[in-house]
Amino acid sequence: MEFGDPFFGNSYIDAIIRLNIVVLVMTLVVIYLTYGERKVLGRIQQRIGPNRTGPGGLLQGFADALKLLSKEDLRPRNADRWVFELAPFAAFVPIFVILVTLPFAENWGVRNLSLGLFFVFSILGLNIVGILMAGLGSGSKYALLGGVRAAAQMISYEIPLVISLLAVAMLAGTFNLNEIVLLQETRPYIIVQPLAFVIFFTAMLAELHRAPFDIPVAESEVSGGYFIEYSGMRWSLFQLAEYTAMWAFSIFAAVVFLGGWAWPMGTEWGWGWQLFLTIAKSFALIFSMMWIRGTVVRLRIDQLMNFCWKGLIEISFALLLVNGFFLYYGWPEEVLALVQWAATIIFIGFIYTRGVRRSRANEYIGTYRNPEAATP
């Protein structure tokens, strides 16, 4: 059976049924992601995490969902009514649309688009709209601040994200996600393009507002950011969008960089193994995101912007150029992989040495009383 062939009746009904299956799986995954995140963070912070509702706290997510459904839907008096009320939907729809093109296993997905990769990152651009609407429409200074921060961050980090994906598309020579997966049957692209993966993963954390880039939703600074005024159903839609984005991004990264369903042994061991591969790889990525959240401190907004505009963008352009040279002159892929690994190690080593350098902040403590001394 080919991907495009309607499996259930005619093509419209087929699309709707496939979408419904994806939505059901998505809801379950999101409910257990919230539970999993609390458990993982609890473990990292030497707590137990939810353990009261159901065996081992397994029903906690359902209890939370029920609680959120029954809460009152409040709207501040000075909020812009329609902008405020439609914002959660505008935030959720683009994330949901991305799921349409993701291949979960061979011929398992809603639709096989020939421009799949391009589809994903052009729809991602619309992701900001809902957040901006929430920030503008809430009539709250905290929400506005969070919205501005989110927009600045997401516009900036979209560039390295897209360019690192283009580097892979260059190598693959196609935008079709299924073909990209099939090309990775012998080796996943992370082996050939480790630097692209590092850039993509960093930009992905920023696009998802995950720590250490959770500046727009920082509780201690803007007390929740753009969704501060939301409650009940609408707040849970934002939450749903956030966790769905996490899951969709992880599957997308697994498909583009980690070999999706094809590596290893995907085409030989059948669809059960393929489905397991995709899910296992995406959950490994999600776990590493939670791990980072539990262990890395939040950046400041100027550090965040500097890192993007003065670091990631230049490196990703250089990456694109190097890939272009290798492809144009037909140099072997092994050499490209070696060059990329060397660059990755230098890049990470540079970040590490910057990170562990002794902070010079101590010299400035107390200098606010004496403004002349404070200027470095």
Partner: protein
């Protein structure tokens, strides 16, 4: 049949939201209507089977331009809930004149051009390989010139915006 229904649906969406852009009371609503209108145009491209162009429309106009408009609004105007800013200044009649002139040119072009009598073939999808060949090989020099123009515009915008820091 379904395509025709969808065509009319999106045609009304585009025109309706375009009217919304002009008549909305606040700039934020105008920007959101603009975004919806541009999204409708992208849907039209999908109906015409030029998926690549539709995605470019979403990426450039939806994701970048409209968001930049909203971001600029956020940084310059007051937040929603404050007093609505009066949008129509003394420039309104000239703006109307420019709009009518543009519409006249477009309608004139549509009326004057000789359309093929029967579009029996229907639209065909142009593969993006063909588009990229035309863009980077046939019109490579033009492409480079346009990108230099954009770069100059970006640098100029930064210089204009950062002027208060210089003194």
């Amino acid at each position: 049949m379904a395509v025709e229904v969808l065509w009319w649906l999106f045609a009304f969406l585009i025109v309706g939201t375009a009217i919304g852009v002009v008549t909305a009371r606040t700039v934020i609503h105008s920007a959101l209507f603009l975004l919806a209108s541009l999204g409708g145009v992208a849907a039209m491209y999908v109906l015409l089977l030029v998926e690549f162009l539709a995605l470019v429309q979403i990426l450039i106009y939806g994701g970048a331009v409209a968001v930049l408009v909203l971001l600029a609004l956020m940084l310059t105007r007051q937040a929603a809930g404050g007093e609505p800013v009066s949008l129509n200044g003394p420039q309104a009649p000239f703006a109307a004149l420019a709009g009518i002139a543009l519409a006249a040119v477009l309608v004139g072009a549509v009326v004057a051009s000789s359309w093929p009598a029967a579009a029996a073939d229907g639209p065909v999808d142009v593969p993006f390989e063909q588009i990229s060949e035309a863009l980077f090989e046939d019109f490579g020099a033009t492409f480079i010139l346009v990108s230099i123009l954009l770069l100059v515009a970006a640098v100029g915008a930064i210089i204009l915006a950062r002027q208060e820091d210089a003194d």
